[in-house]
Symmetry: C2
């Protein structure tokens, strides 16, 4: 969940002031309402050393009524605390109805620090994740709101901050040897984090990763997330039965907060015809070799294609399969479900298409329809698509545990490129069939889809089944990138020897 | 969950006929309703070899409309099937809306057979349980009804049935060498089963264990469970908001079906004064020694007392603690929650009382109030107490994983003995305070409480935290039994050397 994040996001001073003034009025009002409705709220802050937890917690509590919240720091467990199961000290500190408990570090300390120190691993680590999931589910089932922040900074940024602190006598003491070790082992830590976020992200207690290079940006994102979470909880007192499209409430917030990681994708990358022709043949030949190896070694492979209309999914898939032995792969095109499919669980029609070990299945659109078209068009309820992130992660985990190489491609183009391609399709007789009224309708909802794509990329990019964003304004580039990614992943997964 | 079961339950021919005629009318009506309401239903049968799966499935389908169901047998996976993740073949066979899928063996085959053969263990086994839980939760969240039967017979009964089959040439082939191995390794199998049932019992897909020595009894229990599950699902279309006491619908079924395992407890067991005096001193002295060992070895101990009013909890606890060092234990009396407790999650007030490693906490009544008094009196909703079984198991699992010795005692007396004690209390000046109007009210609901106790004993007796039913008509016997149980458990758990 930490790849594909744009850590450079920032907010100008003027924008910040305007938005913060607004949010600082809403927040205490929501606090009063939560008190009135007897809703207990838990907000936790996890993050890299020097990511700014202290400062950001301070920002958050300033507008709050101090009689209604507690902040507690989670240090290494005391002797008293180690004499009880690790959740004990957190159960002791859960808030009463109508109160807010803010945790500077939390129960995740256990699965991070203890793990990094080597004291927690294997089935015990698994069990700790399971305990954390039960804990959070029990609380939210009991009416608690849980908001989880992870403050993210890069290795370089962390190093810079440490150096700055070390430069002054007054702040020097704040950088510990553990901190420096964290920076040194940043990548090892990162993979433990990725694991933790994937294991504990859920519909009832979702993670919000906060890009924390710019403090103004981080502050606003935190405020806005808390406000949205509380608002959505307050609304839930009257359960809405009928599913309706969810568009997200608009406050006048700086564009940076809405800004999508998709906007930071460099779509100008391209290759020329000659390079393309030369490389594509080689890649296709290599993939054909690998197809045989896959078969012999019984490795199952699943490729998922999602992307904007006219992003070039069809052409891309064709280049992947062009040179393959047709007995070894299958392309599974996914359209709206038919009557029989509709009469089953929404995942059923994908499960039936899972390839045999040794074969490749290529999904042209996929189960991600649940959190894309079905979400945006209101074909399923908010509750259903929110639950789907976890359901999809569980399904994919089941596949990858079995040994499946599972790759997911988001074919990305910008809005102008889409328009150009739509118009071209309308004008070319042999491409006319490809463009429909629906495509134009979807195009009108570009921004709504973008929000959905963004959340999908964030919540379902897991260590075992990552998303690859494929820059597709240049189709040749996109085809080569997909082939390269597939080849690399298969080579890495084939048993040696 | 398989201890404390009365396998000798049976139903007479006449009672059977009457009840079955009734149920056979209701069942197809419910099938039609499920079809109309588009509810998909999954019924699985697991159980010992020769427990009668085939026959019982046959009984169940006879009254059903054959156009509306499928029966499928789960054998060892075919080569095709081993080439996919183990849930694949079950996803393929989930029913469409309004249809019933019956499984003769199911996905649990994987965590039983594969485990017994040694191919599945450690984190992989844990992961398989997790996959099964996700699978069942995804389906029930999607509107499916899942009914799970485990057909239980004793080792002796299984052996008898195998011998009978082997005695005739026509049936000899039905007993395989695997079957005989199962009988030989019955106890090893049993503990794998206990583990499986505990790991996969949930509010959304609960297990029903069917005592299967008497085929008539087993048939009726299966019919009745299916009917109740479907009825309860159909009612859920209009969600009931207000919690109300749940008493269980009454059909005129043979008493055997209602009969409680509590009725089979032999309450005539007793010891005489002399034996008691002699033994109690010894036990108390031994426990005092162990209290010190516990402290030195840092073993945490939790004892839970539940039982009928006037069953003798107080006196029993006193005899356990009489000779102990008061710095090493604490008695935690649990009454109705106070205002501050009510403002927290219902488990909070128990968590705060969890003993330090090296100490003993004795709960006089406990978190089980959720599934006893709160259930019976309607202080929480049906949804809440059904969820509580899992929440409680999760909490206890967290404690025992930490190394806690956790013992739970149900102090059992019969209704006549309770009456005798109530009257005695009323007549003795120094005991008068012990008897209140509420006690008499509870007494009137004896049967309702019995149902709740029964389900509690079944769903929360896990391998790591078993229930002990303590025959308490003779208080002396009860005190010795508790002391013996505690001593044995602690001795077993103390690290050697």
């Amino acid at each position: 969940m930490l790849d594909n994040l744009d850590l450079s996001r920032e907010v100008s001073k003027a924008d910040y002031k305007e938005a913060k003034d607004q949010l600082e009025l809403i927040l205490p009002a929501l606090q009063r309402k939560a008190k009135e409705m007897q809703v207990p709220v838990i907000i936790i802050f996890e993050g890299w050393s020097a990511a700014g937890k202290g400062t950001l917690i301070n920002q958050l509590i300033l507008p709050l009524d101090p009689r209604g919240f507690n902040v507690s720091s989670t240090l290494a467990p005391t002797v008293e605390e180690t004499m009880r199961p690790f959740l004990w000290r957190f159960w002791n500190r859960i808030p009463a109805s109508g109160r807010i408990a803010i945790f500077d570090r939390s129960w995740y300390r256990h699965v991070l620090s203890e793990r990094m120190s080597g004291r927690l691993r294997g089935t015990e680590l698994q069990q700790a994740y399971e305990d954390i999931r039960s804990f959070e589910r029990q609380l939210t089932d009991g009416g608690y709101v849980i908001i989880k922040f992870f403050l993210h900074i890069s290795k370089q940024e962390q190093k810079k901050r440490f150096s700055k602190l070390q430069g002054t006598a007054a702040t020097k003491w704040r950088v510990t040897s553990d901190d420096l070790k964290q920076n040194k082992q940043y990548d090892k830590y990162l993979s433990a984090l990725e694991d933790m976020l994937a294991e504990s992200d859920s519909d009832y207690a979702p993670w919000t990763v906060v890009e924390s290079h710019d403090q103004r940006f981080a502050t606003l994102k935190i405020f806005n997330t808390v406000v949205s979470a509380l608002e959505s909880r307050m609304e839930k007192t009257q359960p809405v039965e009928k599913p309706k499209p969810t568009r997200g409430k608009k406050r006048s917030l700086p564009a940076a907060l809405d800004a999508s990681v998709l906007d930071t994708v460099d779509l100008s990358v391209e290759v020329d015809r000659e390079t393309y022709d030369q490389r594509i043949k080689k890649r296709q030949a290599r993939l054909r070799e690998l197809e045989h190896e896959i078969y012999v070694k019984r490795l199952p492979v699943v490729l998922v294609y999602e992307g904007w209309d006219a992003a070039g999914k069809g052409g891309n898939i064709r280049r992947v399969t062009q040179n393959l032995d047709p007995r070894g792969y299958e392309v599974v095109p996914i359209a709206a479900p038919n009557d029989i499919e509709r009469a089953h669980h929404y995942l059923w029609r994908f499960w039936t298409q899972i390839p045999k070990a040794g074969h490749i299945a290529i999904f042209d659109r996929s189960w991600y329809g649940r959190v894309l078209v079905e979400r945006v068009e209101g074909f399923c309820s908010e509750h259903e698509w929110k639950r789907a992130f976890r359901e999809i992660n569980e399904m994919e985990h089941h596949l990858t545990n079995f040994g499946t190489v599972l790759l997911k491609f988001w074919l990305h183009i910008d809005s102008e490129e889409q328009l150009r391609r739509f118009k071209e399709r309308e004008q070319l007789e042999h491409k006319k069939w490809k463009i429909t009224e629906e495509d134009w309708r979807n195009r009108d909802r570009w921004d709504t889809y973008k929000t959905a794509v963004e959340e999908m990329l964030f919540r379902t990019s897991t260590p075992h089944a990552p998303w690859t964003i494929v820059e597709s304004n240049c189709k040749w580039f996109a085809r080569l990138k997909v082939l390269d990614t597939v080849i690399e992943a298969i080579e890495k997964s084939l048993p040696k020897g």
